[in-house]
């Protein structure tokens, strides 16, 4: 955890600082790769959850941090990924996790393309309400069509039935849960690293710069020839697919998918994560998601009134630390960095 915050170098960087960023990123990856040997399996599961949510927040932040659109309905894409995997496993009897991922990604691609097409017609508060309303359509369908979705009982997805890497790794026989935790951690870590690299490339590409131009001044962006609505739509789809991937990876670890992941307070949690880490930075949502996961886990374990605790943290955060963990840390680093010179 503490090591991850060191990625808070400003994103705008020259070639020299790019190498430094690369070195820091590789160091973090190595530390994360060594972790399961150092901590017990419960901690490994916690970090896996954290990494999964980090993918979701990373995708969400392409819209909030880089395009300037606050979605209050990202539970829809997380939930679509999760439910698609559950349908594939239950109804098609598929075992390969890769098949589930492909199917889930196609599912979220379709849903986010459709919802995005509708939502990008508006910005600001209307965009937020549209995304919220559409996510609630999915929630109410999952909630009411219980003969398809299991209603509030949800759908079980047993990890023991799944295989990783095209059947190379399976989880039958004794001690299978330990093996699953261990293998699945590396599986998620690999996909997390891949997702982070892809997102980094996206936000630093001309396309990503165009999104930031739209965020900062929509009129000027349109004036230099950016077709604002199409760029927003594409950003929406990418964002949804990333969040969908998180939902896909979340299901086998959780073992169950319920309408709760489609309900709007879950969207609020994704927003919370990004703000906790700091949505003005690239690494912010990653740090925020992992930190939120710990915060929620320990709050739930230590008190019945975990919502109160988490809500207080959010209120204090908004009032006192609006730039989040990473934003505040990099500001402090910049201040102390200047002192010697």
């Amino acid at each position: 955890m503490a090591t991850v915050t060191t990625t808070a170098t400003p994103a705008e960087a020259g070639a020299g600082s790019f190498l430094r960023l690369l070195a820091v990123a590789i160091a973090i990856l190595v530390v994360l790769a060594l972790l399961p040997g150092l901590v017990d399996s419960y901690q490994t599961v916690l970090i896996t959850y954290g990494l999964i949510m980090a993918i979701a927040a990373l995708g969400f932040n392409l819209l909030l941090g880089y395009t300037g659109l606050l979605s209050f309905g990202h539970s829809a894409y997380f939930g679509t990924g999760a439910y698609t995997v559950a349908f594939i496993v239950r109804d098609l009897g598929a075992q390969s996790m890769e098949l589930c991922i492909v199917g889930g990604l196609v599912g979220t691609l379709l849903v986010s393309a459709l919802f995005g097409f509708i939502c990008v017609r508006h910005t600001r508060i209307f965009f937020g309400i549209l995304t919220l309303a559409l996510s609630q359509v999915l929630w109410s369908l999952a909630f009411k069509f219980f003969w398809v979705t299991g209603g509030t009982d949800g759908i079980r997805v047993a990890y023991a039935k799944l295989t990783l890497l095209g059947g190379l790794v399976d989880f039958t026989g004794p001690g299978s849960f330990q093996r699953f935790v261990f293998a699945y951690y590396y599986y998620v870590l690999g996909l997390f690293a891949l997702a982070t690299v892809i997102m980094w490339i996206i936000v630093h590409s001309p396309f990503g710069k165009a999104l930031q131009a739209i965020r900062d001044n929509e009129t000027r962006a349109a004036f230099v020839g950016i077709s604002v609505r199409r760029y927003r739509w594409i950003a929406f789809i990418i964002s949804g697919v990333f969040t969908g991937l998180a939902g896909i990876l979340w299901v086998p670890l959780n073992g169950l998918t319920t309408p709760d992941v489609l309900y709007w307070p879950f969207s609020g949690e994704i927003v919370f994560m990004s703000v906790l880490g700091g949505f003005r930075t690239f690494a912010g949502p990653i740090v925020g998601a992992i930190a939120f996961n710990y915060l929620k886990t320990y709050a739930v374990a230590s008190t019945e009134y975990w919502q109160l605790l988490v809500g207080l943290v959010l209120v204090i955060l908004v009032l006192a630390l609006p730039s989040g963990i990473v934003g505040t840390a990099s500001r402090l680093a910049a201040r102390f960095g200047k002192v010697p010179s």
Partner: protein, 296 residues
Amino acid sequence: MTIFIIQVLNSLFYAAALFLIAAGLSLIYGVMRIVNLAHGTLYALGAYVSAWVVGGAVGHAMNGTLGLAGLLLLLPIGAIAIAAVGAAIEPTLLRPLYRRPEEYHLLITFGLLMIIEDAIKILFGGTPLSAGTIMDHMGSIPIGRLLYPMYNLIVVAIGLVAALGLWWFIYRTKFGVILRATSQDRRMAAALGINVGRVYVQAFAIGCFMAGLGGAVVVPAQAAVLGMGIDALVLAFVVVVIGGLGSLEGALVGALIVSLVRTAGIQFFAEIELAVLYLIATAVLLVRPTGLFGRA
């Protein structure tokens, strides 16, 4: 035919409660440009406080000393309590944020939602609270061959009175003029000598009062349960989106549409009843983003 009349009455009952919640939400947005995600939870808190007060009064009063009228007068205590909560929230938590982007407004009210949700659990416990005594005392009136609870009709009346009262308050009083002036141009209003800070506290407290009143009038008919606020908020959202954020007439028409669709939905297409509501809201947003009665 009897069934039809009863369904119409039911939907009017829902509409009255929904209007109270949505009008508060709309008023707060209209004046302060804040979408209060904690609004539904404040409605739930109002329901709990009212149920608790009425339940306590029934338990402690000697038989017969506290008539029906006394109980009815106790109900608005919930609404007044919520107005007080609102008056405390605005200067402490919301005022520092007006200059920030609206993302922060949503976030802080989302944090408030979580806090109040658990505060309800701490204060009143996990078991549902009911003020059903009032409804039982009221008796029923016959409609055709069936009996209909008198209390529901009272709620419809309260909703109507609240709508008229709010309209009069906003369009016919001096405070209403100040309120509308502040909502149209905050800086100009301040330049004309209006104490904008005080108007904001009052507007937020009135909005919260409406939410609390909504909870208070519902609780004799439906027990207060955990999570009722989160459900109510999304419905209130649908109402204000259809009617237009910040519009009082819109809240009224939106509440009528939503409750009619809900009642029809429960009768004819129960599975997709909620989905239809959200889709209507989406369609309205697409065709007229400012809602049926909203201004740009």
